[in-house]
């Protein structure tokens, strides 16, 4: 896993973006950008250079699940690792996210250890497949 990779954190609540950003810094990542919903995130992603997307689900404008679907439908972004960090925890929603191609799913409220575990798992799979 490249600790210099560029991570985009998408959440409509600034406090949650700040928390995730601090946790990522604590894990050793320093190249972090932010967006407050799918609509603002998508152009940033399309511009290129983002290596990992961490997004909330329930946001005004474009929801996280639609952002994930747009990412998977875009040939340039299709393989981008995506981690959902959300309060949505209904079975149907988790299945929908899995079918849409999510790489990891964390339910809020969560802790630093869970975030680390999921990121490690996502990149262990990617590095293993490479």
């Amino acid at each position: 896993m490249d600790m210099g990779m560029k991570i985009l954190v998408v959440d409509d609540f600034a406090t949650m973006r700040r928390i995730i950003k601090n946790l990522l810094k604590d894990l050793g990542f320093s190249n972090i950008s932010e967006a407050d919903d799918g609509q603002t995130a998508l152009p940033i992603l399309q511009k290129g250079g983002i290596d990992f997307l961490i997004t909330d689900w329930n946001m005004p404008g474009m929801q996280g699940i639609d952002l994930l679907k747009s990412v998977r439908a875009d040939a340039n972004l299709a393989t981008l690792p995506v981690l959902l960090v959300t309060a949505e925890a209904k079975k149907d929603q988790i299945i929908e996210a899995a079918q849409a191609g999510v790489n990891g799913y964390i339910v809020k409220p969560f802790n630093a250890a869970t975030l680390k575990e999921k990121i490690d798992k996502i990149f262990a799979r990617i590095d293993g497949a490479a």
Binding site: D11, F13, T15, M16, I19, N22, D26, N58, A87, E88, A89, K90, K91, D92, Q93, I94, I95, A98, Q99, V102, N103, G104, Y105, I106, V107, K108, P109, F110, N111, A112, T114
Partner: protein
Amino acid sequence: MDADMQSWYLERARELVVELQEGNGCRVEELLSEIEHQHGSELYNELNRLSGKLQSMMAQTAIDSRIASLADRDIPDARQRLDYVIETTEKAANGTLAHVEASLPLCDQIIEFTDSWLSQNNHSVDDESLQKFMLTLPANVNEVRQALNDIMMAQSFQDITGQILRQVIDVVCDIEDGLSVLVNDGNGPEVKTLSTAERTKKEIMGPAVPGCQGTASISGQDEIDDLLSGLGV
């Protein structure tokens, strides 16, 4: 039929009798056509009035059923959500205070020792008390660091409660719209009536709230991990 209409028909009838007696076929046809046209437009107006009445009755029924659903379900749910917001914010505040209370004595201990050691004239690294202090310092600083992390994580309540409060604001807006229509005797702003699919989609979103209908969720991260690993994620 109103008086104007009645006199219009009477006038046409008299004229019709006269024209018939005089054998003026062309004018007779004209008059009959006028009468027929007038009769048709009256029927049309009456149908229009009835259809308007029916539409307003249907809208009223939609408002009534929306208000019934607000009273039966949405308001009790909103109460549960607000109770949950109180509980969540209280938990976060208590957690934060507990971490602060645990950390302050550790900070005091460090400050007191360093103050007293620095105030001595003969600073010596071989000082027994300094060595004892240095041995406990990493654990104490780590404890404070962990407490700061936990305080940060405790702030995630704002995201959860923010989402719940937005849902309650939606219910308050629905009540406001419904009441405004009732006060204005059905003539207020149009009440948004969501389709079942839209309503289900709206209700399914948001954090799980204990005791709240439609928010039943999977119990935690472990269960989600099991479900996802079954789906190959």
